[in-house]
Symmetry: C2
Subunit: 423 residues, 2 copies
């Protein structure tokens, strides 16, 4: 019973903006058809977004003999959003306009095993300053900064609860960042960042039930169920990497045995390779990135060992994805992150075949499996989207602190284009 | 984007009625506090339910020096609901008043392998007539009949898509039933019936994220996520029994190997017993019910074989439940159905220990595991609740066909009781 009419209004506002971002310019009628919201609700929400300067009116389209339909588009330059991808060895920051086009990028390298929170915070702050300066955006146009931090995070408290790689426990990351960064800050982890990116810009857009599978060093499954991100009671849903695929199987760093991650995460794939061909030149014993990339190149060249390793990995991955299909009955499963990108279509084809051999007929017939279609870094994009969602969620609340730049001109109208005469 | 303001209003209506059913008599203020809805929304929804004759006003309570607060209660006799539990060997039908108290029961036995749809329909129709007659309820007071049918169902079309035990394919069950039964009909399967029963009357009430695990001949997991039943894109979510626990493990009737069901369903538990002690007197080779009941009695008596079998079963079940905890991060997992009832507290204790050894710390700390607290048959109760939800969902729609009996007297007021003088 925690879902309120404010929540649904916020979700509908996301839905409208998502559709306009993707389809600009677009009529309110098209938005209503695509979102299944009533024309009155859409008119109302579009009005709010125009008032906020997030959308602009851009003219009219012909409408087959009826009255001409007003078109709205996202007001790209109305505001800026920043997304921060904190990883083990680097910090990658991007600044976006409201159409979520990248305007500036900055990278900071982290020394291996650098784990001092103060130093990490300083790197993030430097990169954020850098992108704002590069893009020449006024400070009052920055709607917010979304930070993706690996591991378990308390998003409401802004705390990194546990980050395995750095052995962080309860680091108050947003409080530390707020000492250096003058914009609203939003925290979550890469799994949820990728999922939100797919909901807004990728394969989960317009889908009610989607699963975004992150295949990297670790693996996880972001769950977008009933049109919203399923977080669970303590914001830790999605630990599919630590579900059992082989009872009493391979030892996992979580303490259990046989976890999905030990078979399909990058180190697990390296082990699949080592077990099949211990002396393969594809194997870079201390470098998982190089090994996965070598496998990807091997696939292109038809290297039989690479083909065999991907076949074996797909057998494990297919069984674990069939579990998600049988349990959750999603419309789409998206394979995301760097391992999925490196092994690409050959992995996808093997995985689809393996899933078809295992999932139940009825849910299988309703599930598509695709590679992540987002061409840029989905983590920083998703992190920026957290900032966008955060600023939309605060619309209508008392003392809204930051508003997009064009707010002073309500219903800011761009020069009409594509104007047609009613026939 | 399929969730509309009508959906949320319906969900809120369920929430208010659920709370009043559980706590009658209760003030609007208490309902608002418990449901987190605004006082104005609660007043509005309570008004609707009073108009429908589902609630009645029953007096006032003292309120510590303020104005006396009006109390409302469920109008038990305002309408009747019927729940039908169709199983392999029997049909069990119950008629409930609006407080979901059983007023009448009827059972029909099915001959082994009876699978003719016409005969099954006739048995259901006979049992439904019988409970209406027994209870002496006027036909226009019956809000509807919920039917729980095992297997895959198309609830909107009213079709039994696939029922493995009877080899039914695409049987238009509700259309056939409508020829004999003059009340609105609602179809779903037992997994979802049990889950809805827990949401309304059991351990999932007031919980945002709950998993109801059915342990019977087959096993499944009903998912109540974000406060609503998660159905998936084709209403087949919850097939946890057919997720892989042991890759290449025991052969399952679904065609795969190593499914959860083959280790923790009743036939799986029989196999666990046979592998541990092939000559045990607890084993009734052709009777799973008798075997599980013998194990339950054995546990009471401290029989070492029974204890060992439950320990082994709990190891499998604990791993599979840890998967649900890690993936979904629920507030509560409910162990339901006849195997859970038969093995009871000893199974629960072993399962809790096994889960504690496997689930990740953070989600584990936030999940309770409990036995189903519903004292009656949760399937027929849940099926009746489908009829209640169905009739609530139709409130406000054009041409509502059936209304509860007291509709002619709007805001039907019972004699005030417990009236107190404002202090």
């Amino acid at each position: 019973m925690k879902r309120t009419s404010r929540d649904i209004r916020t979700a509908n506002r996301y839905g409208v903006l998502r559709h306009v971002v993707a389809q600009s310019p677009v009529s309110r009628q098209e938005v209503a058809a695509a979102t299944e919201l009533s024309p009155a609700t859409v008119a109302n929400l579009v009005g709010e977004l125009l008032d906020l300067g997030m959308l602009v009116e851009v003219g009219y389209e012909d409408s087959d003999g009826g009255r001409p339909r007003g078109l709205v588009a996202v007001n790209s330059s109305g505001a800026a959003l920043i997304g921060v991808d904190v990883a083990e060895t680097y910090i990658h920051v991007e600044l976006f306009d409201l159409a979520l086009t990248v305007l500036a990028r900055a990278d900071e390298e982290l020394r291996p095993r650098e784990n001092d929170p103060g130093k990490v915070v300083a790197h993030i702050a430097d990169a954020v300053s850098s992108v704002v300066e590069q893009a020449g955006v006024a400070a009052d146009r920055v709607l917010g900064v979304g930070v993706s931090m690996p591991g378990q995070v308390d998003r409401e408290g802004g705390v990194s609860v546990f980050a395995a790689n750095w052995d962080w426990h309860d680091v108050p990351l947003l409080r530390l960042l707020a000492e250096h960064i003058p914009y609203p800050l939003y925290l979550d982890n890469p799994l949820r960042a990728c999922t939100v990116a797919e909901q807004w810009f990728g394969a989960a857009r317009g889908r009610n039930d989607a699963v975004v599978v992150n295949l990297g060093t670790g693996v996880g499954a972001g769950l977008a169920l009933g049109g919203t991100l399923h977080r669970g009671v303590s914001n830790s849903a999605g630990e599919w990497g630590h579900t059992t695929l082989v009872l009493d199987g391979r030892q996992c760093h979580c303490g259990n045995q046989g976890c999905v991650e030990t078979y399909v995460g990058a180190p697990g794939i390296m082990r699949n390779l080592r077990e099949l061909s211990p002396d393969s030149p594809l194997l870079h014993p201390d470098d998982q990135t190089a090994t996965i990339e070598a496998l990807g190149r091997g696939l292109m060249e038809g290297d039989p060992v690479a083909v065999k390793v991907v076949h074996t990995t797909a057998r494990y991955l297919g069984a674990a994805l069939a579990d998600l299909i049988n349990l959750l009955n999603p419309e789409v499963i998206v394979l995301s992150s760097w391992v999925a990108a490196a092994l690409g279509e050959p992995l996808l084809a093997e995985v689809r075949a393996a899933v078809a051999g295992r999932a139940l007929r009825r849910p299988l017939a309703n599930t598509e499996i695709v590679l992540c279609p987002i061409p840029s870094n989905p983590v920083s994009l998703g992190a920026a989207t957290f900032a966008l969602e955060g600023s939309l969620a605060s619309v209508g609340r008392k003392n809204r602190r930051t508003t997009p730049g064009d707010r002073a001109t309500p219903r800011n109208r761009a020069t009409p284009r594509d104007r047609t005469t009613p026939s």
